[in-house]
């Protein structure tokens, strides 16, 4: 474990402080915080930029001092107010970072801008709030930032737990410039929490020295008491909708899915095909499928999550494909609501469904294979009906918020217990 500089003896904290660093506008981060907030620890969130906070992070309050953090009600998240307000202040802060030689390695299609949190802002947050644990959610924004902070703090860096999302390792480790940084990250963290075993193996291959916890899905889990029972829904074989994840970009291959729909069109004409998250190229191709293939296909506008779930519950199958993914929430939602999942072999889906039994897994470059999978799922009533109760059983066991919340807290306790006792005692409140 990382050691910390000793200071004047100070009262031992009764409640640990956990600094979570991540994309504050992400529903994944908000769900994780919901899992762990409460009496166990004071949660302080350091945003990675100035984007608005996800609404479900409430209740939260800005904090600039440890006293303000201590004054919060249990369960209220403190959000670090760094004090850098306005373009001029941010420009000056980044000019100082450039003078130090710090260079941001951008994630794909996320170019740097002055609103990004600087390493020095995070250093200040660590010195102000003296967290007992730093937990970064996601690697390319939060993880890279924290790596630089650890370099600057040295022995004063608290234990560092890292969680990654979907493509953070699987895709980025194959990009040479990022691979070098990922190796440095893996060698610097004290604990690692993946959402699939595939990523644990990748992390070890990149030189992970810290402890790897048993994976938990990035969202934590859901309350199955609030999910409809399968018996209240139509059997999958009686459903007439197909739901497609239409995202086409650095990871998603929505246009490949549409080509597969084209190839399988004769088998799909009785279905209502609806596409979630489709840009202009996807909309144009969907129109061509409607005009030339006679398919009932349309791109849906952005929908709130409860409406998406309603659509999933009406779908015979849910289709997602890309060159990289973790375990998508849509896969788990499909498994929960009886929709037969068709996913890429490049995701973690194979750790949740058995190919050909509980779902169908396809290489993202095999459009013909995807067309065959679509036709099979469209025509095999026994396949889709048998998969539904099994898939529901799996997610109830592994995607339960109650179960995973308890696991998450046990991981935090393990990380906190791993720190040298004298280092904790040496912390002084600001």
């Amino acid at each position: 474990m990382t050691g910390r500089a000793s200071g004047r003896p100070a009262p031992r904290r009764t409640t640990p402080v956990i600094l979570i660093v991540g994309m504050q506008n992400s529903i994944h981060l908000a769900r994780w915080v919901a899992l762990v907030r409460g009496d166990f620890a004071r949660i302080v969130l350091l945003p990675v930029d100035e984007a608005p906070l996800a609404p479900s992070l409430a209740p939260w309050s800005p904090v600039a001092t440890a006293a303000e953090l201590d004054a919060l009600e249990p369960g209220t998240v403190g959000v670090v107010a760094t004090g850098l307000a306005g373009p001029a202040a941010r420009a000056a802060a980044w000019a100082e970072e450039a003078r130090r030689g710090y260079r941001v390695l951008d994630p794909i299609q996320v170019p740097w801008r002055p609103a990004f949190t600087t390493p020095q802002e995070m250093v200040a947050a660590v010195r102000t709030f003296r967290p007992d644990l730093v937990h970064t959610l996601e690697i390319q924004r939060a993880g890279y930032l924290t790596l630089e902070v650890k370099r600057r703090l040295g022995a004063a860096m608290p234990p560092w737990l890292l969680s990654n999302w979907g493509s953070d390792l699987y895709l980025y480790e194959r990009l040479p410039e990022h691979r070098a940084v990922l190796i440095a990250v893996m060698r610097s963290i004290d604990g690692y929490l993946a959402e699939c075993r595939r990523d644990v193996a990748l992390a070890r291959g990149l030189g992970l020295l810290g402890h790897a916890f048993e994976p938990i899905h990035a969202t934590g889990g859901v309350d199955f008491g609030r999910m409809p029972q399968l018996g209240a829904l139509a059997a999958p074989s009686r459903r007439e909708a197909i739901l497609v994840k239409g995202y086409h970009g650095w990871a998603g291959r929505g246009l490949h899915i549409l080509s597969a729909l084209h190839l399988a069109a004769p088998a799909l004409r009785r279905f209502r095909i609806r596409i979630l998250v489709g840009g202009p190229a996807v909309a144009r191709m969907a129109q061509a499928l409607a005009d030339q293939d006679g398919l009932d296909v349309a791109v849906l506008p952005h929908l709130p999550n409860d409406e998406v779930l309603r659509r999933v519950a009406e779908a015979r199958m849910v289709v997602g494909l890309g060159i990289s993914d973790g375990v998508s929430a849509m896969l788990l939602e499909a498994m929960s609501l009886g929709a037969f999942p068709i996913q890429g072999t490049t995701s973690g889906a194979g750790e949740w469904v058995r190919d050909g039994v509980d779902g169908l897994l396809v290489c993202p470059h095999d459009v013909r294979g995807l067309a065959d999978a679509l036709a099979r799922a469209a025509g095999d009533d026994a396949l889709v009906d048998a998969a539904a109760p099994r898939n529901r059983q799996v997610v109830e066991a592994r995607w339960s918020a109650a179960r995973n919340g308890a696991a998450a807290l046990s991981y935090y306790r393990a990380m906190l217990a791993g720190a040298p006792a004298d280092a904790l005692a040496g912390r002084a409140r600001a």
Binding site: R174, W250, H256, M285, Q292, V367, R368
Partner: protein
């Protein structure tokens, strides 16, 4: 992205070739090409648009100029390819009126099936 997928299907047959993606500035394409290179060992790279924009003979010496498009060939370097005698393989997924000819019809399946497109690429350069 479709051509990238096609190359996965025929990578073992193209290991002795140098493959360049041109006229694509999208970071998503750059990432796809980098991952293709990593996964297959192909000598493949994305050429920055600035390197090709001002060069009217960039295709000189190429064995093949290929693309997959939605419905038409607007913006493709077909006049340059013709002038330089570079063979062309352009598949249209939903050919617009006036774009339908026997060659395009023969490539309709390839326009939606990367495995077929991959075989067409190998056939064209063999």
């Amino acid at each position: 992205m479709f051509v990238v997928s096609a190359l996965y299907h025929c990578a073992s047959e193209l290991l002795s070739f140098s493959i360049e993606f041109i006229d694509a500035a999208d970071e998503a394409v750059a990432a796809a090409v980098a991952v293709l290179r990593w996964d297959t060992g192909l000598d493949v790279a994305l050429v920055p648009p600035a390197a090709t924009r001002a060069d009217p003979s960039f295709l000189q010496g190429a064995l093949l100029y290929g693309a997959v498009r939605f419905s038409d060939t607007a913006g493709l370097r077909l006049p340059e390819a013709r002038r330089l005698g570079v063979p062309v393989l352009v598949a249209l997924q939903f050919p617009a009126g006036g774009m339908v000819d026997p060659v395009r019809l023969g490539l309709l399946r390839a326009a939606h099936d990367p495995a077929i497109l991959g075989r067409q690429i190998v056939r064209a350069v063999a």
